[in-house]
Symmetry: C2
């Protein structure tokens, strides 16, 4: 039963399991105590810190273990902002950061700070020039992920780090998705990561803060982990995290190449096998194991459900799979189709057979969902008497229905005529323009309406 959601959580690596078991017996005591059980725990903790620091590329005393990657990000951002409060309260992030970064930014704004969000191109990458332009005299901190968690696109971290260095601004890199594959290049100042993304256990994050970076830990004082991560150290899990990071790194070169080829296969085959699909994210500058595509006229929830029934576990950035009923902020920032969105992220050890089975199953699953939703055939027949303009009322209908309704009637207006879609679904704002781009029709724009918005499309062909 192939599990294709490694970017959410990877199954426990066998080395992590082994290390965890050993450390349960040896590492349960308080490492701050001077008796033998405490000294043993301290030795394990020190050795894990040494190993993790080597993998990160920092000094052991620059590295603290947190209780999750999210906590590492929260503490890293709040500590760096507080440490440079005299410089200013301006924070720069990319528009496609992980929610832990964006929620930290919102929190900062709610306390009177200011935030600049650097946009991304259609591949999901920031441009170094745009990022550099966002840096100001009062910028206290800049954040950039090493690679995007939803579409796999790598960010130009080394270039942005150079610009930050020139501007005297510390750069925090969220390396959650890439640390298993290799160290982050370039001169980062702070780095955050999460063990369960590389096959370590849950409950362990890493926060590295380079010597010389001003940092003032926020929240109640706590003497553990250099005052940067409150609470009793989870040493067995820390030991397992460090051991699996080493193990995964040792396999990384060969395994990354293998997974990259499997992902290339998905990237090239899916558009050939499934009509009306958009594969998103940078095809080259990308994580080896992640690929994301969106299918017109399909809702993500049904798609995930049917794939799960067929034995495949994947995730989706479609609005219907989100508790807020909005499409993923990453897809929105990229301006790409969000309906029928599927992220495939391959764990270590995924076989070519698993991928081929997925490619066998996918077309039928997509076709089945489209049929159930009454999606239009590839070329919708023109009705007998075309009207110059039509209005489609899709109010109260959720993604992908507004786009399906649009596609059904576009043949009912002459070339040059318009279709206006009334919709109060958040996904329509993203998916109607994306449909126009895929179908080579003109997206005229969005107008306010009594309820929701009116999206105007001009037929070009």
């Amino acid at each position: 039963m192939p599990y294709f959601d490694a970017a959410s959580a990877a199954p426990l690596h066998p080395v992590a399991r082994q290390a965890l078991l050993a450390a349960l017996d040896e590492g349960w005591a308080d490492p701050a105590r001077l008796y033998r059980e405490g000294r043993r725990a301290r030795l394990l903790l020190d050795a894990a810190r040494e190993a993790a620091a080597q993998a990160v590329g920092c000094r052991p005393d620059e590295l603290t273990f947190t209780s999750s990657g999210t906590r590492a990000v929260h503490s890293g951002i709040s500590g760096a902002l507080a440490g440079r409060r005299r410089v200013g309260r301006h924070l720069v992030v990319s528009a496609v950061e992980h929610s832990s970064v964006l929620h930290s930014a919102t929190d900062h704004e709610s306390r009177g700070g200011s935030v600049a969000e650097v946009p991304v191109d259609r591949s999901g990458a920031v441009s170094p020039a745009a990022y550099g332009a966002a840096l100001r005299e009062d910028t206290a901190l800049a954040c950039l992920q090493s690679a995007n968690h939803e579409v796999g696109t790598e960010q130009p971290v080394a270039e942005v780090a150079g610009l930050c260095r020139d501007a005297g601004v510390p750069l925090l890199v969220d390396a959650a998705q890439s640390l298993g594959q290799g160290p982050v290049p370039g001169g980062w100042s702070l780095l955050a990561a999460s063990a369960h993304k590389w096959g370590g256990p849950a409950g362990v994050g890493l926060l590295a803060v380079r010597k010389g970076v001003r940092f003032a830990a926020q929240g109640p004082a706590d003497e553990r982990e250099s005052g940067r991560a409150a609470g009793f150290e989870n040493i067995p899990a820390i030991v397992a995290a460090a051991a699996s990071l080493r193990a995964v790194r040792a396999e990384a070169a060969a395994e990354s190449e293998r997974l990259r080829a499997l992902v290339d296969r998905i990237r090239s085959r899916v558009p050939a096998l499934v009509p009306d699909v958009e594969v998103v994210g940078d095809p080259v500058r990308r994580l080896p194991h992640v690929v994301t595509f969106s299918c017109l006229y399909v809702d993500g929830e049904s798609l995930l459900h049917e794939l799960d029934r067929a034995g495949f576990s994947v995730s989706s950035g479609s609005s219907c799979t989100s508790s807020t009923l909005t499409p993923s902020h990453v897809l929105r920032a990229m301006g790409v189709l969000s309906e029928g969105n599927v992220r495939v992220s391959l764990p270590t050890g995924t076989t070519a057979q698993d991928v081929d089975r997925f490619l066998d199953v996918l077309p039928g699953v997509v076709a089945g969902v489209r049929e159930k939703l009454g999606a239009p055939a590839a070329a919708a027949p023109s009705p007998a008497a075309p009207a110059a303009s039509l209005v489609v009322d899709a109010l109260g209908r959720r993604c992908p229905i507004p786009v399906i309704e649009l596609a059904k009637v576009i043949g009912g207006v002459p070339v040059g005529g318009t279709v206006t879609v009334l919709s109060d679904d958040e996904a329509a704002r993203l998916d109607i323009p994306a449909w126009c781009a895929m179908r080579e029709q003109e997206y005229v724009g969005e107008e306010p309406a009594d309820r929701g918005s009116a999206y105007v499309v001009r037929r070009l062909s």
Copy 2:
């Protein structure tokens, strides 16, 4: 090799180990995902929450899992204070709370809030009347531990809860030391606990917030655990924590009685076996497994070291075992001797033989340390020509030297004469009055001096 520091961290309970192993395979995926691995993880998480809530005595939807007991306390206090910010910014705590509570209070003060610390008596307990008197119209939150972590004294939680209810103030109970033995009585509003105190794994705390208690989680938003504990859930550890809580509770009645008898044996035998010892904490209203005593003319660090060499792992509240070189805030608040302090906390399964071996070893260890330090014999001989008053310069000397020097010369003044001890050691402020009480001499008081303080003692006998 007996480990007698269960109040710091208990070794992993066999049931916790078993549950953890099973959940490593079944509970590693993201419980927010809809595919089978995610659903499986969610089922485990829900079952663990149900079991833990039953043990706590709350509804499952009132209980969140945090990454540690410290985090549960931090989040509980900050969330409750923010939730009642309109009422006021006054926080009430006891003087002997765990550092996670006191550090939260300091953090609250640093943000403009006010804090009242309710004192304790010599047994370490608050009086309900004093606690009630500290509640004000603008009190947003009150905190009281179920039992003290250093001396084992139980607090009058039910009485204080009643007073808080009458005053309309929510009460947060830190139940870290007692939850393994049984639910907290009375009408608490919030409750915090820590799994590794009851033989669960590190990395799991509990925060219960009763329905109807105003609560506003602080820090960056996060959708997990009702928004009250950021970061990916550590389900294997949570499952192990809940399973071991059930297992420990099932054994609690019989085991508590057994440990209580062993502790009674230590409480009665130590003063008989070792001269100049003060056993502290309430002899009756106490945790079953914790006993603390202090030995005159001994430094805690040497004592711990020698006990460790003899195979016993204990902890100490003496200043020399603290990174800040101040005695434990608990012993200070109680006004009891801090030098040569030893806390013995027995884990589940401790045998009578272990305790007897400890009682065999202790007198020799204490005598050895005293001899090395040149401690005075029980009755110091009076010198030939007593002076009416003497000054002892113990500047730069650490605990227990100032007290040893005092004891050495007190026979050198006539009854009614005084000894003034000059000391810049924080422990002297606590231990010189404590010595006077033990020796039935009069502690006259403390006066400022060029360096440190001058402590004046009048000989009465």
